[in-house]
């Protein structure tokens, strides 16, 4: 039987590095949108318990053993890299809808503050925080881990996001070279 070959949204692009900044694609196996049905919040909490995760306050994410839950809206979160089956929530497979980009290195916040209208300095947007916000003209989910920014953008626009971040990296690097 023939096999369909899977491709990531940014396949074919190599990581970009400018000075100590680097941009790369993160291959996510699975993203599930989890939205509890009316009155099912407790049942959902129960279903999430085996993963060691609880439904979140806005603008944050939590991670346990490689499984991440990130707030994406009112009564809605994305569960990343885990399988959940429960009748308590509307579950929508989003695995292929998003590209995940990782930006790390000194000045990463400066780079992203050229594209996001958000205060991303560490004292304001700390590790563990997340935001649904526009990356320039694109919808996105932004997360800050201990070491990097990770962001989700729509698959079809991933190359634009990549190019815009890479250009901002170039500008930041050129300024630092002065």
């Amino acid at each position: 039987m023939p096999k369909l070959i899977a491709k990531t949204p940014l396949s074919g692009l190599w990581p970009v590095t400018h000075r100590d900044l680097s941009l790369s694609e993160v291959a996510l196996d699975r993203i599930t949108s989890v939205a509890p049905f009316r009155g099912q919040e407790k049942a959902l909490a129960k279903a999430l318990k085996p993963l060691g995760l609880a439904f979140l306050a806005p603008n944050s994410f939590a991670e346990k053993a490689g499984v991440r839950l990130v707030w994406t809206g009112r009564d809605q979160a994305f569960l990343i890299n885990a399988v959940l089956e429960t009748p308590a929530a509307a579950l929508t497979d989003q695995s292929d809808g998003w590209a995940c980009l990782r930006l790390e290195g000194a000045g990463a916040a400066d780079v992203l503050m050229r594209l996001y209208p958000l205060d991303l300095r560490a004292q304001v947007f700390a590790p563990g925080q997340a935001a649904r916000a526009g990356l320039n003209h694109m919808a996105s989910v932004l997360m800050r881990t201990e070491t990097a920014f990770e962001l989700l953008v729509f698959r079809s626009m991933a190359r634009t996001a990549w190019a815009e971040i890479a250009e901002a990296m170039q500008h930041v690097a050129a300024r630092r070279a002065l």
């Binding site: 939205a35 292929d96 958000l118 190359r159 300024r175």
Partner: protein
């Protein structure tokens, strides 16, 4: 002339540059203006209207005269650059502008001779006859004479950027008040941004010989800056002009990132900042203003503060024999500084009768300058004093009419400044911009000591608002002389056709012009401004507005306060379009959305066409095909006879789950969905609230409480927004969850008589779907979905797989289709197929059409309410007057065009006779004819009639038969096969 030992420039670093084709040498730290003055170049520009020779007037961004073009290799250039702001860098090349052929010999200076005819608003009174001479002769001449610098017409390929910044406190201006404010807040731990327009922070302290704490002011500046730099919570932004105050603490700012350097790759020329500040302090200082007297515009006449800047900061003496003309005490420092530096001062002319005369030079009190001489450079001034007149030889006249607080930002949110009689100036109105507190000279506080205290006070206010404790820094001791001024706006001159005293140097507006405006009853300040163009030049009246108001007040017998003031609007200084539009160039203007089939399509030579933000294949050319039509016709036949594959993933897809999902669809669609069985798909018509058609699409019921809706590509975003609104506003307590899944699925239409066979080869267990059925499937082992729907009129399916497999499935489907004599088809064929079938796109659903117009009126279910139902029943939206969807088939083989209008044969062709228009046309290879869809008045009742299709623009005039919009397989037998 450079004065050894003076100034902050570095004599050890010579910097070569070029102006008007001549090479010069300046020093590191120079501006183009200071370097030109150091080289004895006084004539740097020509005025806007009269082409009068002009020299440097100021030492800042408010410069009205010294505007030049900065040249780059390759022919790119930047016009209207202020020589007073442009920092010198090795190899800088600049040239003068608005002159022909040269700066020294400018033919347009003839305008100066015609000046009596060219007074305010003269052009409103003439150039009216004969009528067509305006566009043909007068206007081109005026256009060519007007304008300042010139664009190169080359695309601006340089790097620019935009960025956001956030802070507790934004301090605008790094003079004494700003430095103190930043230090107070910085030490208190607040998150501070200190932005200053200059390359070097310090404000007037860089240009004055002031003493702070017993030491030169510069030493204090250096120590404060060193401390600020050491504070992690303080960010210094030199070369950054805060250009606008917007809502809710948002400020626009322009940073000159690379303009002080020769261009280098990737380094942005400029950055446009969006700064969000909880609190802000406006410590932008004040701008000195000239006095209007006859011929006050000659090269060599300079603001007194600018003379001090060139002397003290740049070590340049702007003249060999300087005179000073002032109406205030402060400007007399100019003479003292010059003499201390060894530059001869010919005289001080102080307009105040009781002024002192302590300087070691002639001092005329109660005196005025009444005229000057020297066409390309000042040579003499005439002084009137105590009843006599004196002619004084001088090559530089330093003038001061007092100071205007730099309050522009406080007007950006419609605040009106207040007149302060003691200062003879406008001062900021309290609270004009919430959260922005003026301090120092910007608040009308003039002595250095008071400015320092004011900066501290403002910072403490901001800290309190931020809930922080003050740091209580100790202020240095500084001069605290009172600001003594006697208002002097204009020195009257004798009548005479060519006698003029300038107010607005940049736009060549004179006292006469303002008086003429008043004479003609343009007495509102706005009328005067607009009639004379006073204040509308590149300096936006920074040098002249207040004096012009005073002249208008005088001419109309009102006080300045009664006369009012025009509005300062953003930006404070001009902002390049490239900086504010950074990122927009080329494809950056909007995101590009790529399909998973993109690469495979490009490999097959398909032109990729923009469809909204998406790129879709137009057609898939085969070798030997002459044009798109050949390929398109083949693809149509291929679908009708074999099987075609088309990527339709751009359609919006919305996942709708919950017990109330069916009920919700009943509400947002005109027709009913709650009765749709699981495993079935239904066509849906969605109305706007106002009763017109918003969109159409399908919804499939995957499970009892689970639907997936499709929208058109164009309306996907609008529909999602709409559904969210309906849900949150009207159905908030329903059990319902919406989620866009457009991006998650790659979806391909597989259509044609062989479609089923093609699918059977990729599906692990092909289901036997009825028309409008759907089912989960395994596609080579991958979980997918299959819908039996058709936009082509053939037996058709749409097969969806997770997008990661999209490319692989597309390639696989194409390879298998080709074995069956089929292949891919693109947008062009898709369009022909759907026109043949009378299916709709946004060419027909253009926002003005109703269900009635489309012949779908019966889809609006009578048994339930839905969005748009009530409004759709307005009398104007139904009836025979409406243009209704019809098909049109030409009686000849002539081609048709979309956008043509419809007329009754034999009737006149005119607006009153217009019967409708065509929306979509194609050549149908299936039917061997051109076809059109269109809207015709009362069209459904007119089938069989002959109608005339007229397209004036493309010379089409064809008779067509009106027919049913479904041209092909009207009974739908193929669909249901």
């Amino acid at each position: 002339m450079r004065i050894a030992g003076k100034g902050l420039t570095d004599p050890s670093v010579p910097v070569g540059f070029r102006f008007d084709g001549r090479d010069y040498v300046g020093q590191a730290g120079d501006t183009l203006a200071s370097a030109l003055l150091a080289n004895g170049v006084k004539l740097v520009g020509r005025s806007f209207k009269y082409h009068r020779p002009r020299g440097v007037l100021t030492a800042g961004s408010e410069e009205p005269n010294a505007l030049v073009e900065v040249l780059e290799e390759g022919g790119q250039r930047t016009p209207n650059v202020r020589a007073t702001v442009q920092e010198l860098y090795p190899g800088l090349a600049a040239r003068s502008q608005n002159r022909f052929p040269t700066l020294g010999f400018d033919l347009l200076a003839l305008n100066d001779l015609a000046a009596p005819l060219l007074g305010a608003g003269f052009y409103y009174k003439t150039f009216m006859w004969p009528r067509h001479f305006w566009e043909g002769l007068y206007e081109p001449l005026i256009r060519r004479a007007a304008g300042l610098g010139s664009l190169s017409r080359q695309h601006d390929a340089a790097a620019y950027e935009k960025a956001y910044a956030f802070c507790d406190l934004l301090v605008i201006g790094a003079g004494p008040a700003g430095l103190v404010a930043a230090l107070e807040a910085g030490r208190a731990g607040a998150d501070v941004i200190l932005a200053d327009e200059d390359a070097r922070m310090g404000g007037r302290l860089l240009s004055e010989t002031l003493v702070l704490e017993g030491r030169p002011g510069m030493e204090w500046v250096t120590s404060v800056l060193a401390e600020l730099e050491s504070l992690p919570n303080v960010r210094l932004m030199p070369r950054t002009t805060v250009t606008g105050a917007y809502d809710h603490g948002t400020y626009g700012a322009l940073e000159r990132v690379g303009l002080h350097l020769a261009p280098r790759p990737y380094l942005p020329r400029e950055c446009f900042w969006r700064i969000v500040a909880k609190q802000a302090i406006l410590a932008a200082g004040a701008l000195e203003r000239p006095v209007a007297f006859e011929n006050n515009d000659r090269p060599g006449i300079m603001l007194a503060s600018a003379v001090r800047s060139y002397l003290n900061r740049y070590g340049v003496a702007p003249g060999r024999r300087v005179t000073v003309f002032t109406n205030n005490e402060e400007a007399r420092r100019t003479a003292r500084d010059l003499m201390a530096a060894g530059v001869p001062v010919a005289a001080i002319i102080d307009a105040r009768p009781h002024a002192s005369a302590v300087e070691d030079c002639p001092v005329y009190t109660g005196a005025t300058v009444i005229n000057t001489r020297g066409r390309k450079g000042l040579s003499h001034i005439t002084v009137r004093h105590g009843g006599g007149e004196a002619l004084i030889e001088t090559d530089c006249l330093a003038i001061s009419g007092g100071w205007n607080p730099t309050l522009h930002l406080t007007c950006h949110r419609n605040g009106r400044p207040l007149w302060n009689e003691a200062l003879a100036a406008f001062v900021p109105a309290p609270g004009a911009v919430p959260g922005l507190e003026p301090a120092g000279a910007a608040a009308g506080i003039m002595s250095t000591a008071a400015c320092l205290a004011s900066g501290q006070r403002a910072a403490r206010g901001a800290l309190e608002a931020l809930g922080r404790k003050p740091a209580a820094i100790r202020l240095p001791a500084a001069e605290d002389a009172p600001y003594v001024i006697q208002a002097l706006w204009q020195v009257p001159h004798a009548p005479g056709l060519w006698r003029r005293a300038w107010l607005d140097f940049a736009n060549d507006v004179t006292v006469k012009d303002v008086k003429l405006a008043a004479q003609e009853n343009f007495v509102s300040v706005e009328h005067m401004k607009r009639y004379t163009t006073q204040g509308m030049a590149p300096d936006q009246g920074k040098n002249s507005n207040v004096a012009a108001l005073a002249v208008l007040a005088d001419a109309t017998g009102r006080s300045v306060a009664e006369t009012g003031v025009t509005t300062f609007r953003p930006p404070y200084t001009p902002v390049s379009i490239a900086a504010m539009g950074a990122g927009g160039r080329g494809t950056g203007f909007a995101p590009q959305r790529f399909l998973t089939s993109h690469t495979a399509s490009v490999e097959r030579g398909a032109p990729m066409i923009e469809a909204g933000l998406w790129y879709r294949a137009g057609y898939f050319p085969r070798p030997g095909e002459a044009d798109w039509r050949t390929a398109c016709d083949r693809e149509v036949r291929m679908v009708r006879e074999r099987a075609g594959v088309c990527d339709v993933s751009t359609l919006g897809k919305i996942d709708i789950q919950g017990a109330d999902a069916g009920r919700f669809l009943d509400f947002v669609y005109a027709n009913t969905f709650s009765t749709l069985p699981v495993g079935r798909v239904r066509y849906g018509l969605m109305l706007r609230d106002d009763g017109h058609v918003m969109d159409d699409g399908t919804a499939a019921r995957l499970a009892d409480g689970h639907f997936v809706m499709t929208t058109t590509t164009a309306a996907a975003g609008q529909v999602m927004r709409h559904l969210d609104f309906v849900q949150q506003a009207f159905c908030a307590d329903w059990d319902l969850r919406l989620m866009s899944v457009t991006e998650a699925w790659a979806q391909f239409a597989v259509a044609g008589p062989r479609a089923r066979a093609l699918l059977a080869s990729v599906l692990d267990a092909p289901p036997d779907l009825p028309f409008m059925g759907c089912a989960p499937v395994l596609v080579h082992g991958v979980k997918g979905r299959l819908f039996r729907i058709s936009f082509s009129g053939e037996e058709g399916y749409e097969i969806a797989v997770p997008a990661r497999y999209g490319e692989a499935l597309f390639r696989d489907l194409l390879a298998r289709a080709e074995v069956l004599g089929g292949g891919p088809y693109g947008m062009e064929a898709l369009n022909v197929l759907r026109i043949e079938k009378g299916f709709l796109t946004h060419a027909e659903l253009h926002g003005r059409t109703t269900a009635f117009d489309l012949g779908l009126g019966r889809m609006i279910s009578a048994g339930k309410d839905c969005i748009g139902k009530a409004a759709s029943q307005r009398p104007g939206l139904t009836g025979p007057e409406r243009e209704q969807l019809v098909g049109l088939r030409p009686q000849t083989e002539a081609p048709l065009t979309a956008g043509a209008h419809l007329f009754v044969p034999g009737e006149e062709v005119g607006r009153a006779q217009d019967q409708g228009y065509t929306t979509s046309v194609c050549y149908s290879p299936t039917l061997g004819s051109w076809l059109a869809l269109g809207f015709l008045k009362n069209g459904r009742a007119r089938q069989g009639e002959v109608i005339r299709v007229v397209d004036h623009l493309r010379a089409v005039d064809v008779l067509c038969e009106v027919c049913d919009p479904v041209f092909y397989d009207r009974e739908g037998e193929k669909l249901r096969a």
